[in-house]
Structure formats: structure tokens, C-alpha cells
């Protein structure tokens, strides 16, 4: 009875607030998992109902007394009923479920290089994501753009501990383990923004290690790639301050600095969020972040540089200009 109520609530929710909702699939792979879920959910509800009914029946039986023993020894008929209902029926049901599961595994299996038109390398670092498009020579962070309806092979690796790349609405999660080149297929069947989050505990800021997958029509994707390939204008006002204050030691901006401790900032202005989905892309948040990153994301590797108000404002303006 509890299960039914919960299920109904989940149904209700599959419609709205579908930010990371496994019940609102937007790809064939995610749909096959959601279908598998609903099949198993219905079967489970039946089993729970049957057992709950039997428990209620036990409640309603005529009560015995503690000083009288009803019956001793085995009751062969009841024992056979137990073996049939407890072993035979589950065995049959499980065999059917197992075969159904086996047929649904290929839909979410790791893609072969040949069956994807676009490959993206996503790297996990303690507590953000490096994103590289090898064929297009594009390097960015915390955001993936993919063309709608095109099978994209996301190759994952980690530069430190185990993370897990997971976009609930597009496909299953895949762990990023040192020495294993795992990959997962993303193929969004309609344009939209899909949020993903690290799903393997990876330390202090595991909770703030999110990323976005922007599925857009082919033309828009092409424009995005072109924009990402264009190096930023040299000699912009904040650039010297950027290197002078030491940001260049950790961050890469094409043509200006080559630091790799932090994410690539070449086109940080064009990203939807900052600090791996922790804060939105607004001037105020960017200034707050540059001023005291440890307050927003305690334990992350970016120190507070004790800059003056004006330095922070000039840096923020410069970074926002890097579209």
C-alpha cells in the first residue's frame, strides 16, 4: 500500500522539475532503463501487495493462546505450498525478468568507436570536469554541447580519484577509474539542457561537482564549436592583471596562460554556470567567487587571493568578456 502511494507520487513528478529525473528520459537508452523500471515496479508492487495481504490475513485469524499449542510437526501440504510460492514461482518470474534484462543491456552498453559520429573526452578532477573535443580541437570545462539526434561517444578518464559521469535523463552512469578507458553514449532526442552530477563519492566537494549537457540543433552546435575555436582577443584590459595576480598558474586561457590545476577559462564567459554548476553565470556571483571561493565551495583548490575590490571587478569584467 505504501509502495502504491510512492509510485503515484513519482508518476506525478515525472512531468515537472525534470532536472535530473530518471523518470523523464530523453534518449532511447534512458527510455529503455525507465521502461525496465516501470516493469519491475509493477511486478514488485504485486509481490508487496500479496505479502501485505497475507500479513493482514494473519492479523485477522482467530487468536490462539500462549498456553496451548495448536499443532506440532510438519504439514506436507502447507510445506509444498511454501516451496511452490517461495521457490518455484520466483524462479519462473526471475528467469523471465533475467532474459528481459539481458535483452535490454545492449541499449546502454558502452559504444564502439565506430558507432558514434562525435567523440568528447571528459576528465574528472577534484571537483570539476575537463571537456575536450579532440577532432574539433576545442577545450572547455563543466559543459558539453552536443548536436541533437546524433550519437556522441563520451570517453571518460580521471586525473585523480574515482568520479562517475552521469546524465540521468540521457543514459546510465559510468565510473571514471584510473587506468580504465570507459565510455558512454549520449544521444538526446530533443533539444534542451540536461544536468549531470558526479555519482561516486570523491571527497570534500563531491556535492558541488555538476555539469550541463546542452543538446542543440546541428547549426547551433556548429556556431558554438566555431566560437570555441576562436582564440580570445589578445591585449584585453584584464589580461595582464590575470597573469600578474597569478591566476595563470592554475588556469589556461589560450594564448595567455597554461595552468592546468583549475578549469580552462578560454571561453568561460559563454558557460551557463560557474564552479561546476555551483553558482550561476552572473557578474555578482563571479565577483563573490573570485573574492572568496572557499566560502562558496569549502575545501576546493582555489585559494582566496586577497585582491582589492577594483582588481576583482576588473578581473570579473575580463573573464565575462571571454565569450
Amino acid at each position: 500500500m505504501f509502495f502504491g502511494a510512492g509510485g503515484a507520487a513519482a508518476l506525478l513528478l515525472s512531468g515537472c522539475a525534470d532536472r535530473q529525473n530518471t523518470l523523464a528520459p530523453h534518449s532511447s537508452a534512458a527510455r529503455s532503463i525507465t521502461t525496465l523500471w516501470w516493469v519491475m515496479f509493477i511486478g514488485s508492487t504485486i509481490v508487496v501487495m500479496v505479502v501485505s495481504l497475507l500479513v493482514v490475513l494473519a492479523f485477522l485469524r482467530r487468536r490462539g493462546s500462549l498456553d496451548h499449542v495448536e499443532a506440532r510437526g510438519e504439514s506436507p501440504r502447507a510445506r509444498n505450498a511454501v516451496l511452490v510460492s517461495g521457490a518455484l514461482v520466483p524462479a519462473v518470474v526471475l528467469t523471465i525478468l533475467f532474459v528481459y534484462v539481458l535483452t535490454s543491456v545492449p541499449a546502454t552498453a558502452e559504444p564502439k568507436p565506430k558507432d558514434a559520429k562525435l567523440t568528447i573526452d571528459v576528465g574528472g578532477k577534484q571537483w570539476f570536469w575537463t571537456v575536450r573535443y579532440p577532432a574539433q580541437h576545442v577545450t572547455t570545462a563543466n559543459e558539453l554541447h552536443i548536436p541533437v539526434g546524433v550519437p556522441v561517444r563520451v570517453r571518460v578518464h580521471t586525473d585523480d580519484v574515482i568520479h562517475s559521469f552521469w546524465v540521468p535523463e540521457l543514459n546510465r552512469k559510468i565510473d571514471m577509474i584510473p587506468g580504465y578507458d570507459n565510455s558512454v553514449l549520449l544521444e538526446a532526442d530533443r533539444a534542451g539542457v540536461y544536468r549531470g552530477q558526479c555519482a561516486e563519492f570523491c571527497g570534500l566537494q563531491h556535492a558541488n561537482m555538476a555539469f550541463y549537457v546542452v543538446a542543440e540543433p546541428r547549426a547551433a552546435f556548429g556556431r558554438w564549436v566555431a566560437r570555441e575555436q576562436r582564440p580570445p582577443a589578445a591585449g584585453a584590459p584584464g589580461a595582464t592583471l590575470f597573469t600578474q595576480v597569478g591566476c595563470g598558474g592554475c588556469h589556461t586561457i589560450a594564448g595567455l596562460s597554461t595552468g592546468t590545476v583549475g578549469p580552462d577559462l578560454t571561453h568561460v564567459g559563454g558557460r551557463m554556470t560557474l564552479a561546476a554548476g555551483t553558482i550561476p553565470q552572473t557578474r555578482a556571483d563571479l565577483e563573490r567567487w573570485i573574492g572568496d571561493p572557499q566560502h562558496i565551495k569549502p575545501g576546493n583548490k582555489m585559494p582566496a587571493l586577497h585582491l582589492t575590490g577594483s582588481q576583482i571587478k576588473r578581473l570579473a569584467a575580463y573573464l565575462e568578456s571571454l565569450r
Binding site: R19, T22, A58, R61, V82, V161
Partner: protein, 629 residues
């Protein structure tokens, strides 16, 4: 005891076995009943500690962007919540019931190795304090209870946190292994005459299956802990990819222990359910033989399913097929057990009392946990919802539902035997319903949170995902659950004096512990009972024979701390075993080991060497006093 011979035998037994109360006896006793009670009390204290950690986390997560504790403290809280509940509460609590009840249920006077029994307790206490002392130095384990590498390596967790974890678990493993050995030898060698294999009580089958799993699962954890400690402290390489190691080696070694461990937690609880159901159904257990088989089969298959914890690591699908099939088939033994209990209740005349309430709550809760367990055997669905709150919901339904419900049933069922007093039924019923509602309010919403994509082990979350409402309900549920538990604690404390006098057999039960007084004397049975069925206490004429045997001084074993040894298959008498009464060596050995582990943790190798020498000396001292023959 009308006859003179009977009274003399009792006085002689009293003289041989009675223990004065006092500090000396407290520190040196090897009586399985005193040690069992201590296990129960100490592990309940750890339960409260783990519960406080849980309530803090639930309060933090009640709303989005909760800021009560920072990430460092939160990571320590959830790691220690897991370690405490699994290693220091549920297994020791079930061992506490096992320690107290196994010798009584098989008609023995004590465990096979009484001093090792005391050693198990002292090392359990010492390792618990060792692990919790990490909080004092602000370095509690903070990489989760399964502590994956490379995060757990020195490079990413440089403090002493994980050394506390490794050494604390190695320390506790000594206690668990010694305890498991003790249980197995006791159950298979010290049964009452006539108790052949098919007449072993189902609770003892649960403890035997648990001990079998402990013996064969713990060493995998010890190997992992030894490797990780060598890697962290001395620069060895086992898990780091750059030097020929492999991060998944830790996951394999850990989960080869990890999954059998969850059956180690579940099987004695199943034994408790199989003990309580026949008593309150007023009928022998239906399909008793198959329930005993189901307990052992669950333990055995439990060793072949561990990779279902690693479905998302990108291994070969053929490998996953092996473990997915085994994870599906392990449902069959549980299915037989559930329908066995239900059939027994439906064929009998149930008497609804507080122990049975918790059992019925267990059945409903465990079935929900069981069906979600089957879902995790389905590879693609597991890859979608593993490491989310859906798995948190699942394992609380099968571990809290599967073990803590039976533990509370056992508290209500065996309290009269331990204290001689009855618990207050009205308060117990109120506590149960608060407990049951609180449990479901806490953990059922987590299914929805998992489906809505909330990863586990996040110290905070943003608003806008639809997670807020379910987290709030879960937190309210957590406090309701705590209230239910508090109700039972009040009941237990108050009934020590206020409870009605229970007498030897308030429930009219079928197992041997109800054939002696409550609480039983140190020698348990005036004369060793002779068993001729699987429900010995319902064989009234046999129990009268026991009294007649006492009056003829047969099987009263008044030659010392003696108990009967029988062959493991048919229960024919083999020999009389002489056991030690009191001994200081268990405590001294535990202290020596504590010295060794603390020195090792602190890195004082010379002190650690001395500790090792002291341990060897204590083992030597253990053997000095030999039973005169």
C-alpha cells in the same frame, strides 16, 4: 526438587558455578550470559552514537543548502554512521543474543571456548573505542564505509583518518573471527544429547551461517586493509595505477567481504524471526528443514554476487552476467523463508504480542527491500540508480528492516529471559507503531529521491530539483523513528523493576532456553536436557525426565565447569568437556593488542614491537593454567 539427591546436586552446582558480583568478577568472568548482556548493552550504545550521526545528517539535509555542518564533518559523520551501524552495532548486537541464547538453545552450559568468548567482547569494546577515538583527534574515517581507493590513499586523504579505519577494522576482525570460531564449534560440538542436525533450532542455524560467512569473508577485508595500510604508511603499491596497481583491486577485495557481510548481518536476524514466529503462531515452523537450508544457501550464494556493487565500473558484460544471475537466484532462499513464516502464521492461531508486531513489520519492510534488491540485479537499472538515494533506501529497507526490526523483536521476546521481568505491552505497541511509521516516513521517500537523481553522500544540494519536499519528509520520519526507539529504551529501563514477574516460560515457547529459570543460573540447566524433537520445550514429558534425571544425579556433570560434547551429525554423547571458570587473560590480551594497535597507529615502531611482544606473552600466559587431569 523434592528429593535429597536433587538438592545436593543443586548445591554442588551452585558451589561450582556461582560467581560473586564485584569488579574482579566483572573483569574476569567468562560466563556466556554476562558477556552476552554486555555485548547487547555496548552495541546499543554504539547504535545510539550512529543514530545521533544519522539525525545530524538528516537535519542538515532537511532543506536545500543546509549549513549545519561543513563537508569535512559531514563526510566523517556519514562514514562513521556506516562503520558504526554495520561493524559496531548490528553484528555485535546479534552476537550478543547469540552469545546468550545459543548455549541455552542447544542445552549446553557455556560456549566451547569461554575465555575466547570474553576475549571477543573485550576486543570488540577496545576496537570500538579505538575507532571512536578518531573523533577526539578530529580525524575520523571520512571516505565512506567502503573507502574506495584512490581517494583513500595517502595522496588524497593524508590525515590519520584512514589509518584509524584500517587498523580499527583489523582490530575488530580479531574479535569477529574468534567469535565466529567459538559459535561454530559450540553449535556443532556441544549440543544436548539427541539433538541431531535436523533438530538444531533455526536461530542457531542463523548464527552458524553467520559464523561460516564471517570465517570466509573477513580475511578478504583484512587483506584489503593490510594492503592499504602498507600502501599508506610504507609506500607499497597495490592500488595505484602508476606503479602496477589497480584501483578496482580494492573494490573486489572489499566487496568479496562486503556482500557476505550484509548476509552476516541479515542471517542471525532471520534466525530470530524463525524463532519467534512458531511461538506466536502456536504451531511448529512449516518447512523447517528448508528454512534451515535457506539460511545456509543465502550465506553460500552471498559469496558469488559481489560484483553487482561494481556494475557501473565499465567491466565486461559477460562478467556482469555471472553476478547478475547469482544476484537474482539468491532471492529464492529468502522467498522460501518469507512464505514459510506466513504459512506458519496462517496455519496456526497467532497471538498478537509486541515481539510478533515487530516480526510482521519486518516481513512487510523486508519484502519491499527484497524486491528493490532484485531491481539492482538488473544491470541497466543498477547502472542508473547505484550511488543514488534509491540504493540508500534499498539497503536501509533490507538492513534496518531486515535486522533492526528482528533485533527489536528479540529485545521484546528475550527480555523476560534476561531479566525475569515482562516489558509493558501497551508502551511496546505504541513504540512499535511510532517505530514502523517513522521508519517508512524516513526511508520510503528516498526511493523517490533516488529516481529524481539525488546522488548519495552529498552534504548539501541546491533547490529546484524537487528534492526538498522528500528530504523534509525523510527528516521528520527520522525524528519519529528516534521517538519510537526512545519508547523501547524507556520500556527496557523502566521494566527492570516495574515489569511483571515473567517466570521461566512466559510465552509458552518451544526452545530450550525457556526450560530453565529466568534469568538462568550460571550452570544454565540443573541436568543437561535430552532432546527428541525440534520443539524440545513443547515435549512436556521430556522436560519432566530432565527433573527426574536431576533427582538421580544423571547428566548433572558436577565434576567442575563441565558440559556435554556430542558428535555433530547425530548428537550422540562423545565426551565431557571441562571449561575454565574465570580468567584475567582475555582482558590482558585485549589490552596488549590495544597497545600494539595504538602504537602502530601513532607510528612508534618500537612501542608497537613491545606491544607485539606483550601480545605474545599474554597468549603464553593464557596457556599457563591447564585444567588438572
Amino acid at each position: 526438587m523434592s528429593t535429597v539427591v536433587g538438592r545436593e546436586e543443586l548445591e554442588r552446582l551452585e558451589l561450582l558455578w556461582a560467581e560473586r558480583s564485584g569488579l574482579k568478577t566483572f573483569l574476569t568472568t567468562c560466563d556466556h550470559k554476562k558477556i552476552g548482556t554486555r555485548y547487547l548493552v555496548t552495541s546499543f550504545v554504539f547504535f545510539v552514537a550512529g543514530g545521533v550521526a544519522a539525525l545530524t545528517m538528516r537535519t542538515q539535509l532537511a532543506t536545500a543548502n543546509g549549513g549545519i555542518v561543513g563537508p569535512k564533518v559531514y563526510n566523517e559523520l556519514f562514514s562513521m554512521h556506516g562503520v558504526t551501524m554495520i561493524f559496531f552495532f548490528v553484528t555485535p548486537m546479534l552476537n550478543g543474543f547469540g552469545n546468550y541464547m545459543v548455549p541455552l538453545q542447544i542445552g549446553a552450559r557455556d560456549m566451547a571456548f569461554p575465555r575466547m568468548n570474553a576475549l571477543s567482547y573485550w576486543i570488540f569494546l577496545a576496537s570500538g573505542l579505538f575507532m571512536y577515538s578518531s573523533f577526539l583527534v578530529g580525524a575520523a574515517p571520512d571516505d565512506g564505509w567502503f573507502n574506495y581507493t584512490p581517494l583513500a590513499e595517502h595522496a588524497f586523504t593524508p590525515g590519520r583518518n584512514i589509518d584509524f579505519y584500517n587498523l580499527g577494522l583489523l582490530f575488530l576482525t580479531v574479535s569477529s573471527t574468534v567469535g565466529a570460531t567459538n559459535f561454530l564449534v559450540t553449535i556443532f560440538k556441544l549440543r544436548a544429547p539427541g539433538m541431531s542436525l535436523n533438530r538444531i533450532p533455526l536461530f542457531c542455524w542463523g548464527i552458524a551461517a553467520q559464523s561460516f560467512s564471517l570465517i570466509f569473508a573477513l580475511p578478504a577485508l583484512s587483506a584489503a586493509n593490510i594492503f592499504l595500510e602498507l600502501e599508506r604508511r610504507f609506500g607499497f603499491h597495490f592500488f595505484d595505477r602508476a606503479n602496477g596497481g589497480d584501483a578496482l583491486l580494492w573494490q573486489h577485495l572489499f566487496w568479496i567481504f562486503g556482500h557476505p557481510d550484509v548476509y552476516i548481518i541479515f542471517l542471525p536476524a532471520v534466525g530470530i524471526v524463525s524463532t519467534i514466529v512458531p511461538v506466536f503462531a502456536r504451531r511448529s515452523m512449516i518447512a523447517h528443514d528448508w528454512l534451515a537450508l535457506a539460511t545456509m544457501a543465502t550465506a553460500f550464494i552471498g559469496f558469488g554476487v559481489w560484483v553487482h556493487h561494481m556494475f557501473a565500473t565499465g567491466l565486461s558484460n559477460v562478467t556482469y552476467a555471472f553476478y547478475s544471475a547469482a544476484s537474482m537466484v539468491i532471492v529464492i532462499p529468502s522467498g522460501v523463508q518469507i512464505f514459510g513464516w506466513l504459512a506458519t502464521l496462517l496455519k496456526g492461531r497467532p497471538v498478537i504480542r509486541s515481539p510478533l508486531l515487530y516480526i510482521l513489520g519486518f516481513v512487510v519492510t523486508f519484502v519491499i527491500g527484497g524486491v528493490t534488491g532484485v531491481m539492482f540485479a538488473a544491470i541497466p537499472f543498477d547502472q542508473q540508480v547505484t550511488d543514488t538515494y534509491f540504493v540508500v533506501a534499498h539497503f536501509h529497507y533490507v538492513l534496518f528492516g531486515g535486522a533492526v526490526f528482528p533485533i527489536f523483536a528479540a529485545i521484546h521476546y528475550w527480555y523476560p529471559k534476561l531479566t525475569g521481568r515482562m516489558l509493558d505491552e501497551r508502551l511496546a505497541t505504541w513504540s512499535f507503531w511510532t517505530f514502523f511509521v517513522g521508519f517508512n516516513l524516513t526511508f520510503f521517500p528516498m526511493h523517490v529521491l533516488g529516481l529524481l537523481g539525488e546522488p548519495r553522500r552529498v552534504y548539501t544540494y541546491h533547490s529546484g530539483f524537487g528534492w526538498g519536499i522528500w528530504n523534509l519528509i525523510s527528516t521528520i520520519g527520522a525524528f519519529t523513528l528516534a521517538a519510537g526507539i526512545l519508547g523501547t529504551v524507556v520500556n527496557v529501563v523502566r521494566s527492570r523493576r516495574a515489569g511483571a514477574v515473567a517466570g521461566p516460560d512466559p510465552w509458552g515457547a518451544n526452545t530450550l532456553e525457556w526450560a530453565t529459570s529466568s534469568p538462568p543460573p550460571e550452570y544454565n540447566f540443573p541436568s543437561i536436557p535430552v532432546v527428541r524433537s525440534v520443539d524440545p520445550n513443547w515435549d512436556v514429558e521430556d522436560r519432566r525426565d530432565d527433573i527426574r534425571r536431576l533427582e538421580h544425579a544423571e547428566l548433572t556433570l558436577t565434576g567442575g565447569h563441565e558440559t556435554i560434547g556430542t558428535d555433530w551429525l547425530d548428537g550422540n554423547i562423545e565426551e565431557v568437556h571441562e571449561g575454565p571458570a574465570e580468567s584475567p587473560w582475555p582482558l590482558l590480551l585485549a589490552l596488549a593488542l590495544s597497545w600494539f594497535f595504538l602504537a602502530f597507529l601513532a607510528g612508534h615502531w618500537v612501542l608497537a614491537g613491545i606491544g607485539a611482544a606483550l601480545t605474545a606473552a599474554a597468549v603464553g600466559g593464557w596457556q599457563l593454567k591447564e585444567p588438572g587431569e
